[in-house]
Symmetry: C2
Subunit: 192 residues, 2 copies
């Protein structure tokens, strides 16, 4: 499991054994059961998550309806906006599968960053990359119809369609579950 992490890190910076040990000694790994809620609306948190195995989901409760906005799966990282802005969270984070996560908190990150400048560099590169990716995803969402978005998701993250309940997927695509169902039927019809 640790190897997965170090493989990931090696894409950004190369670590010495000493640095690797420093990370391991922080004891960041945590196993979490399906259904666990990692963060609740209104809660102040300082935790960031990195998914080693499993899938976590962020959602808002609007008019007592869950609005799912993101899924994070293997090798994806999430620092909630509320951690950056130091305000109460506007959304929930929950595990939709049994997960193995890496959990860090901002105090610890600050300490590690100042002790090992390489981490600072890695964090910058990763944030820049994630920002670029997020902007592309947002652009794609804006410029396409629900049906196109579904087809695109089928291409880019086919695993999600298998492992995630339809009504959460629908919400993620910005539509109602019934619309997703109908849209899928429409696509099947076109193919035949």
């Amino acid at each position: 499991m640790q190897d997965l992490l170090f493989d990931f890190i090696s894409k950004y910076v190369s670590l010495s054994e000493e640095e690797k040990n420093a990370i391991v000694s922080l004891n960041l790994f945590r196993s979490v059961k399906k259904g666990t809620i990692l963060l609740q609306e209104g809660q102040k948190s300082r935790e960031s998550y990195f998914v080693l195995k499993g899938c976590i989901r962020t959602y808002y409760l609007i008019d007592s309806e869950e609005k799912t906005t993101a899924f994070y799966t293997e090798m994806e990282a999430l620092t909630p906006p509320s951690v950056i802005s130091k305000t109460p969270s506007e959304y929930y984070i929950s595990c939709i599968e049994d997960c193995i996560l890496l959990v860090s908190n901002s105090d610890m990150e600050a300490e590690v960053n100042s002790k090992f400048p390489k981490f600072e560099i890695m964090c910058r590169k990763l944030s820049e990359e994630l920002l670029a990716k997020e902007r592309m995803d947002f652009d794609e969402f804006k410029t396409s119809s629900p049906e196109q978005r579904y087809l695109n998701l089928l291409q880019s993250r086919p695993d999600l369609i298998q492992r995630v309940p339809q009504h959460q997927l629908a919400s993620y695509l910005g539509i109602q579950p019934q619309s997703l169902s109908r849209l899928r039927a429409r696509i099947l019809e076109k193919k035949s």
Copy 2:
């Protein structure tokens, strides 16, 4: 004009006079006329932009239609995804007003970052903050209707509605110009 920049930077790190001079000596300031295209689809670029005055816009050409996805105004920064991924750009960047920009390129950033670790820190903080902001904007977009999005934009960036052509705004809201027109009429009717 430089003061605006240093005021902005001071929100992230505090610079010594020497460091400020180092920045000034890089000669990053550039005045650009309305209508100038800063980046074209298919082009490889290494430039990042920081808007000191004016407004720049990113758009895609899809089926010979312009799809506007973002506006960057005073004190906002843009590093195109294509610069991060080192691939040809998928979109255009153009100035919709006369602008004063700060233009940097990635080689130069790398050099400054390694010379002044403070810059590395600033870049990380800024990227993290922008990522958090982008995710919140994306979430808001996903969870609301075109009408809600327009009303929200009216709240959060009322200046945009004044300074940007309606058809570009419509595209930015993910709808057709006619729909925006209708939606605005609907809102006016409700108020009365």
